[in-house]
């Protein structure tokens, strides 16, 4: 469903660039993309979101070219993808409920649907009791779970999780990964970037390894190998 074909992206200030990436992700897969910071993980995510354009190559989502999307088509496209970031990116002056509801409002859903669906999403991530709290009143783990609830509320086909556990303690990390696995079990494709060894090793799923912008390994059941990421 997602295909990177000879994708290259150069930045003018170099670093974080990617070179000739070929990668296919099928519906229902759970793919971890690992590598050191600067290896190009986030660049891949941003390319897929249409935030930046590739220098060369094509990115396919189902049967359309992401690069060819018009600016006015981007909002519609992004509603098909749920995104979770390391720094949460929540709306700070809205409550947990309102943060999730915002994604539905943006997608043009009715008030009735919002009232019906948001509690379910909050329940899935274990935040029912925090519905009226603002992000500042929540712990890092709770904020990330809230971000996941927001990412899944519109039933996207793919969840992109860019270093979702980067700012979290081990307990919260485990919780977040468990939720992502649960979402994947329910049928949603998950693409996770991380440089946390224990997370990858515990998953037992497909692992794609990046190093200095190149795809160096793609294993169906992978582990995080240090020597592969350092060259």
């Amino acid at each position: 469903m997602i295909r990177f074909e000879h994708v290259t992206k150069h930045y003018t200030d170099d670093d974080r660039s990617v070179e000739d990436i070929n990668l296919s992700v099928h519906a229902g897969e759970f793919v971890s993309i690992v590598g050191h910071s600067g290896a190009g993980k986030t660049t891949l995510i941003r390319l897929l979101l249409g935030e930046i354009k590739p220098t060369a190559g094509n990115i396919w989502f189902d049967d359309f070219d992401v690069d060819a999307l018009k600016r006015s088509q981007l909002p519609m496209y992004r509603r098909r993808i749920g995104v979770v970031f390391q720094d949460f990116r929540l709306l700070n002056n809205r409550t947990a409920f309102e943060n999730v509801a915002f994604a539905m409002e943006a997608a043009g859903r009715s008030d009735d649907e919002i009232v019906a669906d948001v509690p379910h999403a909050l329940e899935l991530v274990g935040l029912t009791h925090k519905a009226r709290s603002f992000p500042q009143e929540m712990s890092g783990g709770e904020r990330q779970r809230l971000a996941i609830a927001r990412a899944i509320i519109n039933q996207p086909e793919v969840i992109l999780a860019d270093e979702p556990t980067g700012n979290l303690d081990p307990d919260s990390t485990r919780e977040v990964i468990e939720i992502l696995k649960k979402i994947n079990d329910l049928g949603t494709t998950v693409i996770l970037t991380t440089h946390n060894k224990s997370v990858v090793d515990g998953l037992g799923k497909r692992v794609v390894t990046l190093s200095k912008g190149r795809l160096v390994k793609d294993a169906a059941v992978g582990r995080y190998h240090h020597h592969e990421t350092e060259e």
């Binding site: 600016r71 981007l74 909002p75 992004r78 995104v83 700070n92 002056n93 915002f102 409002e105 943006a106």
Partner: protein, 309 residues
């Protein structure tokens, strides 16, 4: 999504944001209140200026002196003709007797003059017409009309003894030019202050939106359309405008009341407080429209930057 749901949500979030972003809202409202106060003061200044200039202008007139032999009917005929001229604001008729009694009052302490007048026996003064033009620049054409137009005289016999325009000409022209420059200067100062205060308000709102830039990025990431991101911010800007306009209108009550006590005599009897009361709805409309437009347009411009790809 229906337009109705859309607008309802945009309105609701605009109001909620205004309420929740307390510090930013207070700062923006205060800044905009200053701007609207400046605009209000400019309106007052124009009123004061206009009133003072009108006061000065109304002191200028042209007097037409008739020969004592001219009958009252003839003078009234001339008065009627003059009133039909488009430049003329009013023509006051002063009869011979009135002219005499005015003269006596004016020279009440001048014993010698009064004695000379008594000695004369008959009334040496003719009737007079005091002409006021609508604008001070129009006296010349009125005076010319009086000189040339035969319909204002009675056939071949001259009835007008003199028109004192020629004597007053220099003063009238001087005054006219001063009034024009003061008005131009007033306009320039007005424009200057309004531009400055609009820039300040624009910057304040820009700063407020700058603080929300990450939220805007987040909204885009979630897939919100631009109008749905822009809408609440513009609503917030409008709310700033409305609240500031009301605040400014309230502020002007004590300000004008206090100023009136100190300046009424200086402004030639103009009561700022009364003026404010009489023109309250005009102030309301101007400040409300200015506030709303300022808030809305500033927000629109400020947010545009973050919505580009």
């Amino acid at each position: 999504m229906s337009i109705q749901t859309d607008s309802k949500r945009i309105l609701r979030w605009g109001l909620i944001n205004f309420y929740r972003n307390t510090v930013v809202s207070i700062a923006s409202v205060l800044m905009m209140t200053v701007t609207l106060t400046v605009i209000g003061i400019v309106i007052f200044l124009n009123a004061v200026l206009g009133f003072s200039l009108a006061q000065i202008g109304s002191k200028v007139d042209v007097n037409v002196y008739f020969y004592p032999s001219v009958s009252e009917a003839q003078v009234l005929q001339v008065q009627q003709n003059l009133q039909q001229l488009p430049e003329v604001a009013s023509v006051e008729y002063i009869s011979e007797d009135q002219a005499l009694s005015d003269f006596r009052t004016r020279h009440a302490s001048d014993y010698l003059t009064l004695q000379a007048l008594d000695e004369l026996g008959a009334n040496p003064l003719g009737a007079t017409l005091n002409i006021r033009a609508k604008e001070s620049g129009q006296y010349e054409s009125i005076a010319n009309t009086l000189d040339q137009n035969t319909s204002l005289s009675n056939g071949s016999t001259p009835i007008i003894e003199k028109v004192n325009y020629a004597q007053n000409k220099a003063i009238i022209e001087r005054l006219t030019s001063i009034m024009r420059s003061v008005q131009t200067l007033g306009l320039a100062i007005t424009a200057f202050f309004i531009v400055i205060s609009i820039l300040i308000t624009f910057n304040t709102i820009r700063l407020a939106i700058y603080m929300s830039r990450e939220e805007i990025a987040t909204m885009r990431m979630v897939g919100a359309e631009n109008k749905y991101i822009q809408g609440p911010f513009m609503t917030e800007g409008i709310v700033y405008g409305i609240v500031s306009a009301i605040l400014t209108l309230v502020l002007f009550v004590p300000i004008t009341y206090w100023l009136t006590g100190h300046t009424q005599a200086f402004f030639g009897g103009l009561s700022l407080f009364r003026y404010y009361g009489d023109n309250f709805f005009q102030f309301l409309a101007i400040l409300l429209v200015a506030g709303i437009l300022l808030g809305m347009i500033s927000a629109w411009f400020a947010i545009r930057k973050y919505l580009r790809k």
